[in-house]
């Protein structure tokens, strides 16, 4: 006799529950070893090309990976002794913060200034002491506005905004430093407004918030699911059992992940929510169990019958979901792989529990309770069932109209999809009114920009950068880049050379240019290095003067901004061919590559999953034709959603690309359930098994039955899912709102598509589908 896990579980429920608890506890022992990694940067391994190259650039030019910008705004202008005093005090305090690379903080009191006063050349900090008299303030104003290195960098054109640039040591947490800076500025009274911006703030805040949200959101979603379930089944014990099903699989998979030594990354922190979503599939078991129990009144028999009826679709939906996620394991990006493996494992665990733990728990429910609850489960009485029957009736009754509407919608969706803009902007992951967004907007409006990219200029050999021709080429490139609206400011070694040339020549504006000889350039740079901070020069040229670094300050964190810069560099190179090599680098470049890689990896995974799921469908139905039909609601849902994304102007970013995978795993479930049960129903009916092609009436009748009974399970699944994910729409981070809205609409849509379109298609294509009998 074949071993049946369900029968064994029903036979030895206590043993099965005990075993489940022991295994769960075993996985739980791993939890104390949990490590977290909130840095989205680690989506790409440290060995990836872009990180290796960026590290090399950072080393070559003694740069800092991360920089925070503190903007200080005074509507009356910052150049007054009071505000300047604050700037000086704040700078002083910032220098004391742990994790701040104090030697290279740039602010009025620390930034290097090159001036000439009555023949005296001065290379020194701009504001070593706070000016007190009007005359001293005028002097400072003059120095600020006549030095092109300062304009738009530490002083805005209108004189109302200044910034303190705070580089961070490697490994420092941007959010912690930002919090310390907030405390410091809080102590200052007055009209000044303070804005803290920069990639590390956004990134580390987002990483931390994401974890926090997962910790808050997952339990809330779980609670909502529990309540909705209770409202559906009116039995607390069973509702809790279903919840436990999800929780246990989450513990197993997270325990496995931790046990294998992986840190929990922002991507894998989403796994519990995904698993909770996948777990809702077990609602089909409950749904059917209630109907069966009503019919047979024997609990054990009902359980076994239920599992026989839904076993196959449940197994295949699990397989499809697991396969959809497992495909991610073949991607390039490690956190994506881990995530895929994690959810695939959890899905398999869920299914094992569906066939063991859940039936075992069923046996503990008092029959009286089930009876009371099951009373409502009559498809002729239930209003929900009647409604679903009506929907399916529309599809089956007017298949041509239904399909025509579908085609029109589909075409519209495809037009929408062509309008999709691929872009990513981490700062926009925060709400418009959030501190981070406001700070970023303010600083970008007044100054050169908070996002930094580099263009590394590589010459053919030592001292190549000192060549006047090279210098002029770089200068030309800077002017070319500054024409882009996204570029706020650029600066390079050329700016220093020009500045010194002018200052040495009695501040004559005619000498605000690259000098004629290599010797002069070499001597100017040497002179500059004699008094300036070492980093001033190191940040813009390498040691042998064979490479130069052009700083490009961008006014937006859009990944596309850096793309524009790269394109502009290419145009310039084509228009003026020269022996220099030009390569992009920096955090803006990293963001571009990172977003691009993760996004396209997900898209690639999504497409592969589409194929794999289709193959599973073919196996499930043992028919290519039925696989095609069952595929339609899934494709149609995805098409419609992305169509809306395209029309709404919402950018196709990383969170959306991650969601695509989930949509696939979930949406296909509904059609598997629907078609499997429909075919079962047909086969069970006495007339169905005899005739080669079932009669239309029989098909229609079976479709309506399917919509009313397993359809209710589908609808319950969708509602449950949507209800719990709707919570996400109240999250403070926009990707969560996106995820929430996306999942709610996806679930509702795919449930509707399944119930309306499958009947329409089956009726319309019945000749083709049933040719050769019922498979």
């Amino acid at each position: 006799m074949k071993f049946s896990l369900v029968e064994f579980s029903v036979g030895h429920p206590k043993l099965v529950v005990l075993l489940t608890i022991i295994v769960t506890l075993a996985f739980m022992t791993q939890f104390p070893r949990m490590k977290t990694d909130t840095n989205p940067k680690n989506m790409l391994p440290a060995t990836s090309d872009v990180r290796v190259w960026n590290d090399e650039v950072d080393r070559t030019f003694a740069l800092y990976e991360d920089m925070i910008a503190l903007g200080i705004v005074n509507e009356k202008g910052v150049l007054n002794s009071e505000t300047l005093g604050k700037i000086s005090r704040i700078t002083d305090e910032i220098l004391k913060i742990k994790g701040v690379a104090a030697r290279d903080v740039n602010s009025f009191p620390t930034i290097t200034n090159v001036t000439s006063e009555s023949g005296l050349l001065k290379v020194a900090p701009l504001m070593p002491e706070v000016p007190k008299t009007e005359k001293e303030i005028e002097g400072l104003r003059k120095m600020l506005f006549e030095n092109p290195l300062f304009a738009n960098r530490i002083i805005s054109k209108d004189g109302k905004t200044t910034a303190i640039y705070v580089p961070l040591e490697k490994g420092a947490n941007g959010r912690d430093v930002a919090d310390r800076i907030r405390e410091i500025v809080k102590k200052e009274k007055g009209d000044e407004k303070y804005h803290i911006a920069g990639d590390p703030v956004a990134r580390d805040t987002f990483g931390a918030e994401m974890f926090k949200l997962m910790a808050i959101f997952a339990p809330i979603a779980g609670m909502v699911m529990l309540i909705v379930r209770y409202l559906m089944f009116r039995d607390l014990f069973l509702s809790v059992t279903l919840m436990m099903d999800a929780m246990i699989s989450i513990i197993w998979s997270m325990g496995l992940l931790i046990g294998l030594g992986f840190p929990i990354h922002i991507m894998s922190s989403m796994a519990p929510v995904f698993l909770m979503a996948v777990a809702t599939d077990s609602i089909h078991i409950f749904n059917e169990f209630y109907f069966r129990f009503r019919e047979s009144k024997d609990k054990k028999a009902a359980i076994i019958e239920t599992m026989q009826a839904v076993g196959r679709p449940v197994r295949y939906t699990a397989l499809a979901t697991a396969a959809g996620f497992a495909v991610l394991m073949f991607m390039n990006i490690i956190p994506v792989k881990v995530f895929g493996g994690l959810v695939a494992f959890g899905t398999v665990a869920l299914r094992i529990l569906s066939f063991s733990f859940i039936p075992a728990m069923f046996t503990f429910v008092k029959e009286k309770n089930i009876e009371r609850a099951a009373r409502g489960e009559d498809i002729s009485l239930s209003r929900a069932s009647q409604f679903l029957r009506g929907l399916a009736g529309f599809g089956a009754g007017r298949p041509t109209v239904t399909v025509f509407i579908g085609v029109v919608l589909g075409v519209a969706a495809i037009i929408g999809i062509t309008k999709i803009v691929v872009n990513n902007n981490m700062v926009e992951w925060f709400k418009e009114k959030s501190d981070i967004r406001v700070a970023d907007t303010e600083i970008n409006r007044a100054l050169g920009g908070t996002s930094t990219g580099y263009v590394v200029v590589i010459s053919k050999g030592e001292d190549g950068i000192k060549d006047p021709q090279t210098m002029r080429y770089i200068e030309g490139l800077q002017r070319h880049l500054e024409k882009l609206p996204v570029v706020g400011k650029t600066f390079s070694v050329v700016d220093y050379v020009k500045r010194i040339n002018r200052v040495l020549n009695d501040d004559n504006p005619r000498f605000d240019a690259v000098p004629e000889t290599k010797e002069a350039i070499g001597q100017y740079l040497f002179l500059f290095s004699m008094s300036a901070k070492p980093s001033d020069l190191n940040n813009v040229v390498d040691y042998p003067f064979s490479k130069a670094n052009i700083w490009v300050q961008l006014k937006t964190w859009d990944a596309r901004a850096m793309e524009e810069v790269i394109r502009a560099v290419d145009d310039y190179r084509k228009a003026r061919p020269f022996t220099l090599e030009l390569k992009p680098a920096g955090i803006a470049y990293f963001n571009l590559v990172w977003n691009h890689e993760v996004l396209w990896d997900m898209v690639k995974g999504f497409l592969m999953a589409l194929v794999v799921v289709f193959i599973i469908l073919v196996f499930n139905f043992r028919s290519f034709k039925w696989a095609v039909v069952s595929y339609v609601p899934l494709l149609f849902t995805i098409l419609l959603i992305y169509g809306v994304v395209g029309f709404s102007g919402k950018r196709f970013d990383m969170p959306i690309s991650v969601l695509s995978c989930l949509s696939l795993g979930m949406a296909v479930d509904f059609s598997i359930h629907f078609i499997s049960r429909f075919k079962q129903r047909l086969a069970e009916s006495p007339a169905g098994s005899q005739t080669v092609t079932p009669r239309s009436e029989l098909i229609t009748e079976s479709l309506l039955w399917t919509a009313a009974r397993p359809g209710k399970g589908i609808m319950r699944n969708a509602v449950l899912f949507a209800a719990s994910f709707a919570v996400m729409m109240f999250a403070p981070l926009t990707p969560y709102i996106t995820v929430g809205a996306f999942i709610v609409s996806m679930m509702m849509l795919s449930a509707l598509m399944t119930i309306i379109y499958l009947p329409a298609l089956i009726v319309l294509l019945r000749g083709w589908l049933f040719k050769g009998g019922l498979p």
Partner: protein, 273 residues
């Protein structure tokens, strides 16, 4: 003028002999921290009446990139422990060859500095408000090259211990005016035998170690003990600089006149050797 010079020389001689006396005194009583630091200052920066050396500096970045500076440095003391003049002639890097640099150092106030830029054939006076800024792009500051007056800090003798083979006093120095310097605290290991600093640790205002000086090689030249190889490492950036002093000569009778603006354009061989 002549008289003045004689008088000055006399002072220098007196100062020097006092210093020698101080050095020769048997170490009976424990010296105070202030005494130790004053002696160290004199031994390191005022040895002889004048000095000339060929200095090769290697500036090494975190990932091993190197910049070389080669220069002839001459020094003339006007007053022991007081006013000094430095003349620097650059040999390398090649594009700065013939560049010259003159510093008049005064205790208690800003230096005067002049620089000759060969490409412009121009002498420029350079402001020198910050003695803590980098010397020629290295990790050494101007004060590391020409000395920081002991009076600017309060000193405390912490302990005596071995530094390598040598026994040393460990003195803690805290700047009196904390705002004007980049360090909050300095520990010095002063060699008991030569009074030269064997090691110095500079701590920043957060109390973290920022820079470390080490005297790598000590030689006796014409009776004066000298640190002929020095390393300054910025432990926070990983950048470090090494200065090696070769062809060192004391008491060459370098005239104070040579240390003036007019010799910047065409320095005499005594200052470029």
């Amino acid at each position: 003028m002549m008289v003045l010079r004689l008088r000055r020389a006399g002072w220098v001689a007196l100062g020097a002999s006092l210093a020698v006396l101080a050095l020769a005194r048997p170490v009976a009583a424990q010296p105070t921290a202030d005494e130790i630091m004053t002696k160290a200052h004199l031994a390191m920066y005022y040895a002889g009446e004048d000095m000339r050396a060929r200095v090769t500096m290697r500036l090494v970045s975190r990932d091993g990139g190197e910049r070389i500076r080669e220069l002839t440095m001459s020094r003339r003391d006007l007053k022991e422990g007081g006013e000094q003049r430095y003349f620097i002639y650059f040999h390398r890097p090649p594009d700065v060859r013939d560049m010259t640099f003159l510093v008049w150092k005064y205790p208690g106030r800003d230096d005067d500095r002049w620089l000759y830029i060969p490409a412009l054939k121009l002498v420029r006076r350079i402001a020198a408000s910050d003695k803590r800024s980098s010397f020629a792009g290295s990790d050494f500051s101007y004060e590391d090259v020409s000395g920081r007056e002991p009076e600017e800090d309060t000193h405390k003798l912490l302990r005596e211990e071995k530094a390598g083979e040598r026994s040393a006093y460990v003195v803690e120095s805290v700047p009196k005016e904390s705002g004007s310097v980049d360090f909050a605290r300095k520990l010095s290991w002063i060699d008991k035998a030569t009074w030269l600093p064997l090691k110095e640790e500079y701590y920043d205002r957060r109390g973290e170690l920022a820079r470390v000086f080490t005297g790598e090689e000590l030689k006796e030249i014409q009776g004066f003990w000298t640190v002929t190889k020095r390393i300054m490492k910025n432990v926070q950036t990983g950048h470090w600089s090494e200065a090696v002093l070769a062809d060192l000569r004391y008491n060459q009778k370098l005239s104070a006149d040579l240390f003036s603006e007019r010799y910047l354009r065409a320095p005499p061989a005594e200052l470029t050797r």
